[in-house]
């Protein structure tokens, strides 16, 4: 069988470090580990930059499918682009393995029989971090939210979790995307007197918020920061000095067990850095897909998809896990805390595990998702 995998992600913008070329590396590793050649599956990998623009992304997806006979598109680390690609893939009846995007709409309103949302989503992030913070006593919140749909969704999901856990939300401030100065917003958060400042933003915005919070001594003054979407690359950019003590939820971290450690090491050999959860997720999703192709002996979307949902995935990243009817890949999530510089051993030792959140708890219950497929 000939299969073509298209790795579509940000290769030059905000998310280039957490996905980018690393996701292509992860894809190739999956193909090698699966040993496609000996199984007579001929795999070709394409990659492109969607520049975080939905029109660019959907265009590439369409063209790949029409002219390069791409069977499966992986990664796509921007919610808006992922939603657009989701539509194209559904229309053309191919497969979309979404490791990069956050929006839980992919298994909600926009869910599609052709899509699996692989690594994480806004609900699981909000749920992990939100609940944990409230339980530790952080029961009053103030949100610093990026003023766009993704930020709003993250804020909304977290607010629900916080309130359900018995906390309350004192207010929020919405900042324009890609601001460079957060001091004003942070000061407003400080003035609110909330115990927790929830950062419902991503990438550079999160990094700058945390950095500037340290500068203004907000954490020393007694408030905690909750980064709702933080990747290991962000921690690297901040440096442990600034990031220490930050609590976050993640689907993957290198030191979890021997398997993950070994994988991270191999990845690092090729890419120079530890994998992020998105890149690790790409590996996992491609591996499971290839198994499906092998098992069904076909590259037809519906057959492979059926197999993937019917059989558990098993890999060094997530161990044993499954794909739910609505396209949610179900695996454990981890509540992590950033180590202090003294506690860190080695260059990329960032995280201390606070808690493991079991899959069933980590992700949104299927019935809450407004997904048509779930109702059948």
């Amino acid at each position: 069988v000939d299969v073509t995998i298209g790795v579509l992600n940000d290769r030059s913008g905000l998310y280039a470090d957490l996905a980018g070329e690393g996701s292509v590396v992860a894809t190739r590793m999956a193909i090698e580990d699966f040993d496609a050649e000996s199984k007579d599956i001929n795999v070709e990998v394409l990659s492109a930059d969607h520049q975080n623009k939905p029109d660019v992304g959907s265009n590439i997806a369409r063209q790949w499918i029409d002219t390069e006979s791409v069977d499966v598109i992986v990664d796509v680390p921007t919610s808006s682009v992922a939603l657009a690609v989701n539509e194209v893939v559904r229309e053309k009846d191919k497969i979309f393995l979404a490791s990069g995007p956050a929006t839980s709409d992919l298994t909600g309103k926009a869910c599609s029989p052709n899509t699996i949302h692989w690594t994480y989503d806004t609900y699981s992030l909000a749920n992990g971090t939100g609940k944990a913070m409230v339980q530790e006593g952080g029961d009053s919140w103030f949100f610093v939210t990026a003023d766009y749909a993704f930020g709003h969704a993250l804020e909304r999901d977290t607010q629900a979790v916080v309130e359900e856990a018995g906390g309350k939300v004192l207010g929020n401030v919405r900042h324009p995307l890609s601001s460079s100065d957060f001091s004003s917003f942070l000061l407003q958060a400080q003035a609110s007197g909330a115990k927790v400042i929830g950062l419902a933003n991503a990438g550079g915005d999160t990094i700058n918020s945390i950095k500037q919070a340290a500068e203004f001594g907000i954490v020393q003054a007694g408030q905690s920061l909750a980064g709702l979407l933080i990747f290991s690359t962000d921690v690297a950019a901040l440096g442990l000095e600034t990031a220490q003590g930050l609590v976050l939820t993640n689907a993957f971290f290198a030191d979890r067990n021997e398997d993950t450690k070994a994988f991270a090491e191999r990845f690092k050999e090729r890419h120079g850095k530890n994998p992020t959860m998105v890149q690790a997720g790409v590996y996992s999703s491609v591996l499971h897909y290839l198994k499906g192709v092998e098992a069904t002996g076909s590259d037809e979307a519906s057959k492979v998809m059926e197999w993937m949902k019917a059989n558990p995935s098993n890999d060094p990243i997530f161990g044993e896990a499954s794909v739910r009817k609505d396209g949610r890949h179900m695996h454990d999530m981890y509540l992590l805390k950033v180590k202090s510089p003294d506690a860190a051993q080695g260059e990329e030792d960032y995280f201390e595990l606070l808690a493991t959140i079991p899959a069933e708890e980590a992700f949104r219950p299927i019935e809450d998702g407004e997904c048509e497929m779930a109702k059948q």
């Binding site: 290769r11 280039a16 930059d49 029109d55 657009a84 709003h152």
Partner: protein, 326 residues
């Protein structure tokens, strides 16, 4: 140093006697023939993208190259039209031709309002006023609920043209877009080579003199502004139907910049330049997308080289070489 765009215009004096010169006619015929067979050789969606941007750049060039007005906010008309036509097709369920008409009309209205304010300013200040308005439109698009924020309006139905032709078929869609493209280009061509076009040329070259001859220059500037905005809207509205998506990209300032680049790269103030420029840039974006970071670097290099070596744009250089306006 000249404040006007005049300095670089390839305003070669026209041949004696007006009307469409023979070589233009030949180029148009060849172009039409090539575009008719093209979808059988090249990926039609890609071709449609080229056509939409070629129309957009030509509309922009009408204002810059022939009106002498550098707008740095043309994304507003292109993008707003694409939102409106996407919304009309998806939410109101209008057929594609009406959806596109709605988009074009909105662009014309926006052009009228913004143009009326902006044309009172000169040179770089004009550019900045248009940029400011465009940024406001961008902000509106980001905040207004109907645009879907950064997700945009997705899954826009292509619908059935005049209730007869199903545009879901890429070939039918292609010929529809091609017809719109030619319609737009011929309008632009006619405007340029009309009595009105002559007056524009005069105003661009020496405004006080035109005033002293009794021309109410602001009316001419506004007219060309509105025409340019409406045609840009036509391009944007069509794009939304073709790609079934209207998004923030189309109203962002970078889009305004891109159309300037296309026009200059192809040759501003030439009939065929903007089309060539749009083709080059769209092709580049399409085929370099796999290169990641290198795309920006390569793009940057191309701009630098283009500015240093073919300042009049590809077509401008050719026009000079053959001593014929192209």
């Amino acid at each position: 140093m000249a404040n006007q765009v005049e300095t670089i215009a390839t305003d070669l004096p026209r041949e004696k006697g007006a009307g469409m010169p023979r070589h233009h006619l030949i180029i148009f015929v060849v172009l039409a023939a090539a575009l008719l067979v093209a979808p059988f050789l090249l990926y039609p969606i890609f071709l449609m993208k080229v056509l939409c941007f070629a129309l957009f750049a030509s509309a922009f060039n009408l204002l810059l190259g022939y009106g002498g007005l550098l707008s740095f906010g043309h994304a507003a008309y292109f993008g707003m039209a694409s939102y409106v036509s996407a919304h009309a097709a998806k939410v109101w369920g209008l057929p594609p031709e009406l959806a596109i008409l709605c988009g074009t009309a909105i662009a014309a209205v926006l052009g009228l309002v913004f143009g009326a304010l902006a044309i009172r300013r000169q040179g770089i200040y004009f550019a900045m006023v248009t940029l400011a308005f465009a940024q406001m439109v961008y902000f509106f698009s980001l905040q207004a609920p109907f645009t879907g924020g950064e997700d945009g309006i997705q899954a826009v139905p292509r619908g059935t043209l005049f209730g007869l032709f199903n545009l879901a078929d890429p070939e039918t869609l292609y010929f529809f877009v091609l017809a719109i493209f030619f319609f737009g280009i011929l309008i632009i061509y006619r405007i340029i080579h009309s009595p009105f076009g002559q007056v524009l040329k005069a105003i661009r070259q020496n405004e006080p003199r035109a005033v002293s001859l009794g021309y109410r220059v602001n009316q001419y500037k506004l007219a060309v502004f509105v025409l340019s905005a409406a045609l840009s809207g036509l391009a944007g509205a069509t794009k939304a139907i073709v790609f079934q998506l209207a998004s923030l990209t189309d109203v962002y300032w970078a889009m305004s910049g891109e159309v300037v680049l296309m026009t200059l790269l192809g040759g501003m103030g030439t009939v065929f330049g903007p089309m060539v420029g749009a083709t080059i840039i769209v092709t580049m974006q399409n085929y370099l997308a796999t290169l990641g970071d290198w795309v920006t670097i390569i793009q940057g290099l191309i701009f630098v080289v283009a500015v240093l070596l073919f300042r009049e744009g590809v077509v401008g250089v050719l026009a000079k070489r053959f001593r014929k306006p192209l």
